[in-house]
């Protein structure tokens, strides 16, 4: 059979030759300016939310992002509960925490795989994505789906974790921990990766404060924010885990933090599975009432915040959604200017925008606005630099 070829439009490959999205202006090898255009996937969700009930809204916001799909429902239901004052049952709080942490693991592994691809370590890409599969299997056992789990509702969760499943889940999470540890050690100890990523794309602490970045991007620059500890919610105040903070602000720190966080997430999940009390999983909230509320969640990329105003009906009067990348993506400009274009792809990826955005990159000539390098070229340059470094080390 002849080799058939497919090309996906959408999250994986850019709609080609368009100098939109991440634009780099260069002089010689150096990036002198950068810009980013967003909006290609603008679906008008905040406005749509006003014509959907609070219940339907949970499903709507779940689809904002496929990778961190549970982060938005997590923040939204808390915003609604902030208005109504609903007390969420303890078992539901633990289940919410478990789902949130499982998502952190799968999202960080996905990112590690992509970063591996960018620097030319395609084995890292295949391993990271292979080891993601057991995590997605756990999701399927708990919720029935690998993405978009439909677990959240205002007042609790929609599905319980069956007691008889827990021993199997504990075993599965032990396996996840094994390969997260192995991957973390392999990546962090690798001399080529260190040489490739240390000192690259530094975000200085003051810039991080001025730009109000969140999540691993903030923690890599010495800013000790983590919503799970600072504004405790769900069951996060009932489990032990560490905030992972580093000081250098470079690509290596951002990668290391994400890897180390997967291990903390395993710790949290294990404690939750063991400590989860019996009891109801739904407070059966009926009315939201009149008022306004805010919900926050530490998503894999950082703080998700939702603001909701309710006028007493079943439909939100206003639903503001702010994903972490909205604060983090603008910081890429300060980290990439002055760097070499062979690092541009990697530095942009280190911000971890929704990964589909990182593929949409181009280098543009300042005067003619012609595309000099496309996203694929930038990834290739990134991989070539790694080869050079490897060559120098042998």
């Amino acid at each position: 059979m002849a080799k058939e070829k497919i090309i996906p439009i959408g999250p994986f490959h850019p709609l080609l030759e368009e100098p939109e999205y991440f634009k780099f202006f260069v002089e010689g090898e150096k990036v002198v300016d950068a810009d980013v255009r967003i909006g290609y996937n603008h679906r008008g969700i905040e406005k749509l939310a006003e014509s959907k009930t609070f219940e339907q809204d949970v499903f709507l916001v779940e689809r904002i992002c496929g990778i961190c799909s549970t982060s938005h429902p997590f923040a939204f239901v808390q915003a609604a509960e902030d208005i109504s004052g609903t007390q969420v049952p303890e078992r539901a709080q633990y289940i919410r925490t478990i789902i949130g942490e499982l998502e952190r693991i799968h999202s960080h592994l996905l990112w590690v795989g992509l970063a591996g691809h960018f620097i030319g370590y395609n084995t890292v890409f295949m391993w990271a994505w292979k080891y993601r599969e057991p995590v997605l299997d756990i999701f399927e056992v708990i919720s029935g789906n690998r993405n978009h789990y439909g677990m959240f509702k205002v007042g609790g969760v929609r599905r319980d974790i069956k007691e008889q499943d827990i021993p199997g889940l504990l075993k599965a999470i032990d396996e996840v921990e094994k390969f997260c540890s192995m991957l973390t050690k392999a990546v962090m100890d690798d001399p080529v990766i260190q040489a490739r990523t240390k000192g690259i794309g530094i975000l200085k602490k003051q810039d991080a404060i001025d730009l109000c970045v969140v999540g691993p991007v903030a923690r890599a620059s010495g800013i000790e924010i983590d919503i799970r500890k600072d504004h405790p919610y769900a069951a996060y105040d009932k489990v032990n885990f560490d905030k992972i903070v580093m000081q250098d602000g470079d690509v290596f720190s951002k990668a290391a933090i994400r890897l180390l966080e997967t291990i903390e997430s395993v710790k949290i999940i294990r404690q939750c599975l063991k400590k989860m009390p019996q009891g109801p999983i739904d407070a059966d909230a009926r009315d939201i009432g009149i008022g306004e509320g805010i919900g926050q969640h530490e998503a894999p990329r950082g703080e998700v915040i939702h603001y909701v105003r309710s006028n007493g009906s079943n439909y939100p009067e206003r639903h503001k959604i702010r994903a972490p990348s909205f604060m983090n993506v603008p910081s890429f400009k300060r980290t990439v200017i002055g760097q070499s274009i062979s690092d541009a792809a990697l530095i942009t990826a280190a911000v971890d925008p929704c990964y589909c955005c990182t593929e949409r990159m181009a280098v543009v000539d300042r005067d003619t606005n012609k595309v000099l390098f496309t996203g694929d070229d930038l990834v290739r340059l990134c991989q070539e630099k790694t080869e050079k470094i490897k060559g120098n080390m042998i």
Binding site: H42, R43, L48, R63, K130, H148
Partner: protein, 110 residues
């Protein structure tokens, strides 16, 4: 969709590889909705794929736009812009379903 390329699902065993340009492609997988920013580029990419070509709509959004139909930024469902050969519903569809959809599309041109 990316999961189809990874070892567990491995779409390559069916003789399918990912290419970097529409000009080298035979099958187009479309996911998500088409909005005002992307409609022209979307048509352009479709034109670039040489004949014979197949289009697989992956996911409910590509099949019918689902919950985003009433958005002010929504234009038209995918199959009113370009002809679609196979629809793979789901939100998201499992990798096995996507591969099954691709195989179905291949059978159309055999």
């Amino acid at each position: 969709m990316l999961d189809c390329l990874t070892p567990r699902h491995d779409v390559e065993r069916f003789g399918i590889t990912l290419v970097g340009s529409p000009r080298h492609a035979d099958i187009l997988l479309v996911s998500g909705i088409v909005n005002r920013q992307s409609i022209e580029k979307f048509r352009h990419v479709y034109e670039e794929v040489p004949k014979p070509k197949l289009v697989v709509a992956v996911g409910v959004c590509a099949c019918s736009a689902d919950m985003f139909r009433d958005s002010y930024n929504f234009v038209k469902p995918v199959d009113e812009i370009i002809p679609v050969d196979v629809y793979v519903p789901g939100c998201p569809p499992k990798p096995e379903a996507i591969i099954s959809g691709i195989i179905k599309a291949l059978e159309k041109i055999k």
